[in-house]
Symmetry: C2
Subunit: 207 residues, 2 copies
């Protein structure tokens, strides 16, 4: 599949690395064209780059921006997200105080679904860290990627992307579960200091 990333930061590096490993085509749109081109140049596979505002290539868009940039991106792409699988990877956190934000919608993902009603919003990758995505595993175990969505076809698309990239997709239920996924995303970040794991850990459901 063709996947467009909005944003050219560490999470794009991580998820795009896995998507390319799975044989998919990737386009990275950065706020600066140079940053996106530099990241594209680092990675191997079918990859291109551009600037945020360029048209979306393919049916899957990953919003790989911090939460506070999501509204602007939605505004820029108003109407262009209809029918697309829009993957929300954000965690709603005030990073100046490192406190979680409480959203009236319940979660960022549900907020996006309200603002872009034609999009097929999927919450995923918000509980995984960038560096571990590059590696694809921690302690010999494939990362668990928890996936919540209301649109079953969109959920299946992201599930296929995850499973085909050497990770393990876990169906976390409807989009409303994004509330719990975002709580877990914040918790996982908050644990780093005490565990001393330097954002190199992964949350795994073992059985």
């Amino acid at each position: 599949m063709d996947i467009t990333f909005i944003g050219s930061g560490n999470m794009t590096r991580g998820i795009a690395t896995r998507a390319l490993a799975g044989g998919h085509s990737v386009t990275i749109l950065g706020h600066q064209a140079e940053g996106a081109a530099a990241l594209a140049g680092e990675l191997n596979g079918n990859i291109g780059s551009g600037v945020v505002g360029d048209p979306i290539r393919g049916d899957v868009v990953v919003l790989a921006t911090p939460y506070d940039a999501v509204a602007e991106v939605l505004g820029q792409y108003a109407g262009q997200l209809d029918g697309k699988v829009v993957v929300d990877i954000t965690n709603p956190v005030d990073f100046s105080t490192f406190t979680p934000l409480t959203l009236a919608a319940g979660s960022v993902a549900q907020e996006i679904a309200t603002k872009a009603p034609g999009a097929k919003v999927v919450k995923a990758f918000n509980t995984t860290f960038a560096g571990t995505l590059v590696e694809g595993q921690v302690a010999g175990q494939p990362l668990d990627v928890l996936i919540a969505a209301d649109d079953e076809d969109a959920k299946q698309t992201v599930t296929d992307l995850v499973d085909g990239s050497g990770l393990r997709a876990v169906d976390a239920g409807p989009l409303a579960r994004a509330h719990e996924l975002e709580a877990l995303g914040y918790l996982h970040m908050a644990l780093q200091d005490k565990l001393g794991t330097g954002f190199g850990s992964t949350v795994k459901v073992l059985a």
Copy 2:
């Protein structure tokens, strides 16, 4: 240490099994004396039983009741929880519809802290399942027990209990993090159906 359990269900069986393995003394108070005595008879070690309403033995109390029974227990033990380490293991879920409850206090643990201001409330064990606690491990890995509390001495007491019982204590921060722990507790339960793991899984932070 001496640990009193309020409730004689599966979670008491699980946590008490680990506490006894760690060499601690356990008292189980059941809503029916017979149920508590039967469970005590199943377990090996320094264990006694009684009925809910009996005095608390020791400095650590585990509220091993469903969320909707917590208020009644707090009423019954009003004043007797002052200075005690009160371990809240609940998840706020409407089990008739299996939907998470939104609490104004942020979490059950914070609700308890408001209702019993003299108690040293610790959130723990709400992300672990009863059967896995009996075993102490899943897939060869010790269970992670996420612990949130504002009172550092109380947190250390529960940390020692957990670490001394063959499990791994993970410091999840202040009591406010109980919100995220309860979200994770619900999410872990909600995943069972799709994963087909029959409440035999554990959530582990691997590094």
